[in-house]
Structures are given as C-alpha cells and as structure tokens.
C-alpha cells in the first residue's frame, strides 16, 4: 500500500484526527457525551456497511460494559466470553437495525449482551440457580469499588449513577434488578416476591421513571 493510500486510510480513525492546534501545550480532547453518542451512531452505520475498523473501535468502546453485564448474569467468565462473541457477531450482522431515536448505542449493546446471557441461562435450564443467585444478592452492590459505568462516564458520574440506583426504594430496585439481571419473567418475579403482578409492573415503572429523572441531564 502506498504511503498516500495509507494516509487516506488513517483519516477514518477519529482518534488520529489532525486538528489544527492553537498552542502546543497539553491540548486534551474534551469529554463530550453527545460527541460520544454521535460517534457510536456513526460507528454502527459504518459497521452496517461492513467496516471492520469501525467494528474494532465499537468493540473497544463497549466490550467492557457488555462483558461486565454478561459476567454478572452468568457468573461464569468463560460463558460471558461466549456471549460477548455471539453478541458482537450479532452487532456485525444487525448494526443497521440500531435506531438512535430509541436510545443510546451503549444501552442497546448492553441489552443485546443481556438478552444473549439470559437466553443462555434459559437454554441450559439453570434458572433456579440464577433466581437463587439473584435473590441472594442484589446485582448492584451497595458499595462497589469500580463499576462498568466508569468506562463510559468517568469516576464521578459513575458514582452518581450508582448512588441513584442504590437510593431507589428497596421494593422498586429489587423488582428492576430481578427483571434486568435474573432472566425471570414478570410472572416469576411476581411469584418470587410474593407480590401481585400489577404491583410488580407498577414498581418497575415507578422505579425506572425515578431513575430516569435523576439521570437525565447528567448522562
């Protein structure tokens, strides 16, 4: 490949963008959530067109979050690796299905990994084990040294997010965590918590709305 061709090639990589600098001392790239979201959307568009470099960048940006979610649900690093692999193949094949109007790419990628992990649990009929695990301990510990959110939002925001979740009313938080991390159906959550289904749904709704209100404008 000629040097010229390589130069054109690398211009596609955002980290290497050659912006003119006003001065030469310690110009750091500003942290900008909107910019990150736009970048994710752009990456998924490129991935849909078969761009492997974009795919690699998307992997670097979100694999830790996705792996953390899968590892938490499956409680098995080996299986979490399989899930991560399957999910990224799914992203490679279905990137065009991502709709930025329906949320952030990070949330989308996380739910894909979550769904794969839950499918795996259901396929292997380990639900009882998982339900026990989910009941025995909350998915999100009251104190956590470092969460996957740190890779997305940095230390301070991750801490804020964690506080917002652990400060939800216990019954709302419990219902939400069981729904997201355990793979139990609504009926099963209702039975497990010995609470009417309607109440469970209402708790989930109220809890998520509360969390959304706390986090909007911050994330």
């Amino acid at each position: 490949m000629s040097l010229c061709a390589q130069t054109v090639f690398v211009r596609a990589l955002p980290i290497f963008d050659a912006r003119p600098a006003g001065n030469f001392l310690f110009l750091t790239k500003p942290v900008n959530e909107l910019e990150a979201q736009d970048r994710d959307t752009e990456l998924l568009r490129l991935i849909a067109g078969g761009d492997r470099l974009a795919f690699a960048e998307f992997y670097d940006r979100h694999s830790t979050l996705m792996f953390s979610v899968a590892a938490k649900i499956l409680n098995d690093a080996g299986e979490a690796e399989d899930v991560l692999q399957e999910t990224f193949v799914q992203i490679w094949e279905k990137a065009a299905k991502f709709d930025p109007k329906l949320g952030k790419a990070a949330s989308w990628a996380a739910i894909l990994a979550r769904n794969r992990a839950i499918d795996r649990i259901r396929a292997s009929q380990r639900r009882s084990r998982l339900a026990e695990a989910a009941g025995a301990a909350h998915a999100i510990a009251a104190e956590v040294s470092e969460s996957a959110n740190e890779t997305l939002y940095g230390h301070d925001k991750a801490k804020f997010v964690h506080s917002a979740i652990v400060e939800l009313p216990e019954e709302q938080r419990q219902a939400i965590e069981l729904a997201y991390f355990s793979g139990l159906t609504q009926d099963e959550i209702s039975k497990k918590l010995n609470t009417p289904l309607g109440t469970i749904k209402a708790r989930i709704r109220r809890g998520l709305l509360k969390l959304r209100d706390q986090l909007e404008g911050v994330l």
Partner: protein, 266 residues
C-alpha cells in the same frame, strides 16, 4: 399523551421482560408513535446506567482478536459447475466410442479444474490468515502515518511506542512522536484509566544528556481513556531516547515517581 399502561409497557420493554407477544404488540405501537419512541429512549438512559452499574469485568485480550477474525469478510466460494446426473441424459449410449473417449477427457479436465480450485481456495485461506495476522501491525502503521501527517516532516522525527506497565490495564498503549528541529511532539494515548481530579498523568522524555527524565507536562484522559496532546519540554532535547508516563499529584512533579510508572517505551 402516553397513558400509564403504555409507560409501564415501555419500562418492561427496555428491561427486556415483555413476553414475545407483548413485545411484538409494543414494537408495533412504537413504530407508529414518535412520542412512545421518545419515552423508550428516555427510559433506556436508566437501563443503560443500570447495566453499567455492575462491577467492572474486562474481557480477555485474546477475545478481541478472535471476534475481529470472526467478522472477516466472508470468503467468496467458487461454485463448481453442476455435474450431469448421468451419461444417459445427455449422451445417448448409441454414440460412438470416440465420443465416449471425449467424455473421459472432459472428466479428466474436470478433475484438474477441481484440483486447481481447491489450491486456489487454500491460497485464499492462507491470504485471509495473513491479512488477519497483519491487522495488528497495520494499526501501528496507521499511528506512524499519522505522525508523518501531523508534522509533515519525516527527518528528525523520533517515533516511540509505549506499553503498559500496569497488570490490570494491559490494553493501555501510547505513541510518542518527537520533532527534534521544532522541539515539540505529539503524544497519543489509548485505554488508560481516567484519574480523579487531584491526580494527573505526567509525560517524561528521557534524554541521556540529562541525569533525570525531562518533564513534558501533565495530561488527563477522556472517559474512554484516550487523549491526543501536543507537548513541549522546558529543556532542549538532543536525543529523545525513551518516553514514559507516570501518575503524579495534580500539576506534576519535577522528577518522576518511579513506583507510579504507567507507560514506557522507546
């Protein structure tokens, strides 16, 4: 206006706990209702945050290469010409012995053709493997090219690759470029851990002319652990033999704290 029931369905949808039927109905409703789409988008902020609140777990490094290899462009398969089901369909058995011999000749050619195709397929496989193994090297090359692009000067450039000294952050990597003529450089970092507000990363240039490393200033990385900076040093650098990054108190120190060495390379 979205009613409470639809809001409830939206909450269950973003958590992934709607039944198949409910999910189908909900998606249908969402397609036709921009307000419901916006509601889902806002709730997904909460589920995204929820997902990220689990303890961090890093996937093994080898998995990245494995996954990238898996999505390599699909190897084109060469379809073989369809074989006739039998001589009787196209070769009446009343044909002369000469035609039969011709048929044998065709079969021989077919066999050779198959062998050639098989060899070509093997070659394609080998080339694909080679392309994958070169991808890492290509990344480095891209960084080098950037350096040339940045300075537009090939001579007097010192290019160094820095590797992580942190066992828990093996993916951290950086490239330092130093232009001796202009006495300034470019430093690109990836995958470092963002630091708290009272700490900074400090860049050092190691020049044998000086007894201690020369400070090239402090920097922070973004939430992804990446940054691109341009830097100068207080002292004249004659030979930028190596670069190093340490973690220091806010504002940096005159000499590096070696036990906090994060990246080094030359």
């Amino acid at each position: 206006m979205i009613d409470e029931r639809m809001e409830e369905q939206a909450a269950l949808h973003v958590l992934g706990v709607l039944s198949d039927t409910e999910a189908y109905e909900f998606k249908k409703a969402m397609k036709a209702d921009p307000e419901l789409q916006a509601c889902v988008a806002r709730l997904s902020v909460a589920t995204g945050a929820l997902a990220g609140s689990v303890p961090i777990a890093e996937p093994p490094l080898r998995l990245r290469a494995k996954i990238l290899a898996q999505v390599a462009p699909v190897q084109k398969t060469i379809s073989l010409p369809e074989r006739k089901s039998g001589f009787s369909l196209w070769l009446p058995w009343s044909l002369t012995t000469g035609l039969a011999l011709l048929c044998v000749l065709f079969f021989a050619q077919d066999s050779r053709l198959r062998q050639t195709i098989s060899e070509q397929e093997k070659q394609i496989n080998n080339l694909n493997s080679l392309a994958q193994s070169l991808s890492a090297a290509t990344n480095n090359l891209q960084q080098t090219v950037l350096a040339l692009q940045e300075t537009n000067q090939i001579g007097n450039l010192r290019i160094a690759m820095l590797n992580s000294m942190l066992t828990d952050l093996p993916k951290a990597v950086a490239v330092g470029l130093w232009d001796k003529d202009q006495q300034r450089g470019v430093f690109v970092v990836q995958n470092l851990r963002p630091l708290p507000a009272d700490r900074d990363y400090q860049l050092w240039v190691i020049d044998p002319k000086y007894p201690t490393p020369v400070s090239a200033g402090v920097f922070q990385v973004d939430v992804q652990g990446n940054v691109r900076i341009q830097f100068k040093t207080d002292k004249l650098i004659e030979s930028a033999n190596r670069f190093a990054v340490t973690e220091e108190p806010k504002g940096g120190l005159p000499t590096p704290t070696l036990k906090n060495l994060v990246l080094i390379g030359g």
